[in-house]
Amino acid sequence: MDRRGLANWFGTLRGRRAAEALFSALLLGFLLSFPVRTAFRGRVAETATLDGENRAATPFPDLAALPAEEWGRGIEAWYGDAMPSRNHFLKRARRWHLGLLLSPFGTCVPGRGGRIFRTGREWPEIEDYLGSFRLSESELDRWADLFAGRRAWAEAMGCTFVSAISPEKVQTMPGAPFPWLARHRGECLFDRLEARLAERGETANVLSLRDALHAPSGGRPLFLADEEDHHPDAEGLYRMYAAIASAIPGCGVVPWYGGTPPPDTAAGRAPGCWTDGKRLRVSSPGAETFRPDILALAPEASPLPNQRGASVRREGGGLHVVMAHTSYLRYTFASWDDPGEAVRFPFDASVARVDSLPWKFLGDGDLDRLSNDAVPDAIVQEINEWHLSQFPTGYTAAKRNAAAFARAEPPEEGKPVPPGAEICVRAILSDVEAGGFRGVPLEGKCPCATATLLRDGIPVAAEPVNPGFRRPVFFPPVAGGGTFTVEIGGGTATVESIVLRFRKPPA
């Protein structure tokens, strides 16, 4: 049948009906393929990790536990992740948005030179860059308290605490996604935080890694993030590590060789860092990777194996550094695709051991556990700069008490406590047992003992204590002097020592 014949046949009722049947069958078959494939696949997505989304798929709801009104919502949420061909459609949509329409897709924004920027859904990084996000004075104080308090707490333990604030990609190169943005830099939260810490005369050891990424570039804006990824590239990572090392006394980094390492370094016989395209490669001879016992301190809540912690140990003496960091610093070392890949850190031989924790596992509970037996020489907590626009977390009453103790002054021998001064008390307890527990289980739920502070036999403060081998307890400051003792209730413990410090009354 030639073209004219086909057109004529198509124009007939029979031809038209055949074409409509084909059209309907194709489309309906396409639509019906989804429920059929879903039925055959079952609930396979329950434990799956979604490609490129860095999260676990929504599980099928427990209908028995849900009220009937919520069934629809629950099933739709599950289907949203489990829908057959979801990745196919996502890839298409992503390509059309970012490549063809040059428009945002989800949290991805296309920028100059084919760079993809990833931002939060509410654009908090950009809000912060514009200076439009304002924390209240009390919120700002809480952040300052958190950083200064942790530093003081660590100092009381004889440890260095570094808070490393890393910028988001768009904050280091604002003009790339939106040319107008570079002209609108406002007072970022970090600027305000720095100013607040300076006002209060705090030395909180808060380090901005933004400068490290802007780098010695002779005035040229140097941007070190991958084109399609939001993580800094190899050189950027190295510079961030170098900046952190400079904040830890006695810590150094191995040399940087760019793209061409010496043969010994490339072969792993000499220390050094280099890049093979995007990834940072590190050679640290004699270092071995192991599953860190510190993971017992920070529960492995993440369902993603590559988000879990790892440790590196090297023979010989040196610093013990605990790092709690975001995927920024981890990314190059811990492969997302191969969780078994070796983990290396570019610190030099001055560091004997590095424990790497996922960044979110450094709450006060973790700090307490860290201080339980082996206090590290340095603790580094890296957080993203835009997280400052979220909420300050982890500064508990216990930590506040510890910080107050750290800032207080030891009494001078033979001198009375000044009138009106407050007494800060730290008790070290050992072999704390409660409800049959001698340590905190992984899930962190167990009964607590109670340590009560008595002055001249009268209770003045009480603090809960987790079971464990060695626990420091910091009581809230109490006014006035006397003879202090500590009593244990709800369990047993040995009081090893009680240390008193005083802080002067406010002027």
Partner: protein, 505 residues
């Protein structure tokens, strides 16, 4: 009608534009209804479509339950109540008794609607009076209650008037009132229009193909245009709601975006409803006839949400006397109708004002028209290009200002947006963020949305039909619909893209 959080009057849940509905519920519901229709082949003619109606009734109740939970009880109660009322009306012979039953039915329907939709508004309004302190009831508005209540009211009134015979069975009526394609966002379908199809219908391949095409076009309107332009409109009004003046150019663009959003969202939903209805063998009335091409407010309302306008005309305006009682009374009737039309869209003073705004212009047009008739002046359409442009500009002004009011949640954001449009007030630094929402996709959606909101497509179709053979035209149209559907589905699935980027500690 429920008002979504972001403004507009669309169902917040149970929408057709979700991957679950498109690729799970819809195909299974269609197959179920067709299979039930096929199963009825051997039955006597009177019961031939009973199984199909039962299947559709069940699918509709499930659809409603999915989004509204046990609120489905109110829908079921409405079916029982109105079916009983209509049966009683048809059985009664005495006019007084029939009137009493009609009054009871109308009161019952309006009482339920009034309680759910207007009790809170009424209590809050009365609380403003000195010395009055009423508890404000906190009741959740059942989905689509405004639609199905209006359909039920039309049904009992038509049966009372003798304009329609009551449904033969509870199943038939339940199938009609709860029909999921148009249950939550219209069009408002009258029993008289579909009664024949409930009893006997044809589900041929050509209807299915045509329904699919219409559905896919509606889906594209929603997924590709409405969702895209909503992004800027929502962001702009959020800034205005926070009291931040926004740059003038963005304020105008946001208003244009909202005008397109509301049209494409609502008309897209209507297209999808009409398309699904066609696939199931029903013919729903057209709801949108290119309203933005209107040259007068009167014409606008003949093209915008036609099923609602005609409902108000037939069941309120005409019973009030319509235009038969003199110009002054007709104007008054018009204002009453538009005030109630505004309140139908939402229970707040903003919607009341919006209705009155349109009503006022309609009144002015009516008076001008009466005056012209008195002077035997030529009709408005014969005024040439400049007159047509002026007429369009006038309508654009009226509905643009109307949408500004409609979208604003209170006096504060209305005022802020108005000032921003006028170029008054210095934009806050936060408003620079709005530029994030201006990207090529948005501009493309605005351009396409503006062009296709005018009757360009029918014109194009007409031209192509003259240029190309019949088959080529049909193929082109079907291929375009399928492609639009595919892209829309990808965009909607893209909406489920939810990478975890460490938002929390």
């Amino acid at each position: 009608m429920p008002r979504a959080a972001g403004g507009g009057y669309y169902p917040p849940e149970m929408v057709f534009s979700t991957p679950f509905f498109l690729t799970f519920f819809l195909p299974l519901a269609l197959v179920l209804c067709w299979a039930a229709g096929a199963a009825g082949h051997g039955l006597p003619a009177a019961r031939r479509w009973g199984p199909a109606n039962a299947a559709l009734f069940a699918a509709s109740l499930l659809f409603y339950f999915w989004g509204e939970g046990w609120g489905v009880g109110w829908l079921a109660a409405s079916v029982v109540f109105n079916h009983a009322a209509a049966r009683t009306l048809s059985a009664l012979r005495r006019r007084a008794a029939k009137r009493a039953v009609l009054a009871a039915a109308v009161t019952g329907n309006l009482a339920v609607l009034g309680w759910f939709k207007y009790a809170g508004f009424a209590a809050r309004s009365l609380d403003l009076l000195p010395g009055v302190s009423l508890p404000v009831p906190d009741v959740a508005l059942p989905l689509g209650i405004s639609f199905y209540t209006f359909q039920a009211l039309a049904y009992v009134v038509d049966v009372y008037r003798g304009g329609a015979a009551p449904a033969r069975s509870f199943l038939d009526f339940g199938c009609y009132l709860t029909m999921f394609p148009q249950l939550v966002a219209g069009p408002i379908v009258r029993w008289a229009d579909v009664a024949g199809r409930v009893r006997e219908r044809d589900i041929g391949l050509s209807r299915v193909a045509s329904g699919l095409r219409r559905f896919l076009v509606g889906l594209a309107k929603k997924a590709l245009v409405a969702n895209t332009v909503a992004d800027l409109a929502d962001a702009a009004w959020a800034q205005a709601g926070a009291g931040h003046a926004i740059p003038t150019s963005l304020a105008w663009l946001a208003l244009l975006c909202y005008s397109l959003q509301i049209y494409y969202d609502f008309s897209g939903y209507s297209d999808m409803a009409i398309g699904i209805g066609r696939m199931l063998g029903f013919d729903f009335p057209e709801n949108f006839l290119h309203p933005y091409a209107s040259r007068s407010v009167r014409e606008f309302w003949r093209r915008w949400h036609v099923s609602l306008s005609t409902w108000f005309r037939d069941y309120l305006y005409i019973p009030l006397g319509g235009s038969r009682c003199g110009a002054a009374r007709a104007c008054f009737n018009g204002l009453v109708v538009f005030a109630l039309c505004g309140l139908w869209h939402g229970a707040s003073a903003v919607f009341l004002l919006w209705g009155l705004w349109h009503g006022a212009f309609l009144t002015v047009e009516r008076l001008a028209s009466a005056r012209r008739r008195g002077k035997s002046a030529p009709p408005a359409d014969n005024g040439g290009v400049f007159r047509a442009i002026a007429a369009h500009a006038y309508v654009v002004f009226v509905f643009g200002a109307g949408w500004l009011l409609f979208r604003s949640e209170g006096a504060a954001d209305f005022r802020t947006m108005l000032l921003s449009l006028a170029g008054a007030g210095a934009p806050a630094p936060e408003t620079a963020l709005l530029w994030l929402h201006v990207h090529p996709k948005l501009l493309l959606a605005v351009a396409c949305g503006t062009v296709f909101s005018l009757p360009v497509l029918p014109l194009l179709r007409h031209r192509l039909a003259r240029l190309l053979p019949a088959g080529a035209c049909w193929t082109l149209e079907s291929a375009a619909a399928a492609a639009l559907g595919y892209v829309s589905l990808a965009f909607l699935v893209g909406g489920t893209y939810n990478p975890f980027l460490y938002f929390r500690f």
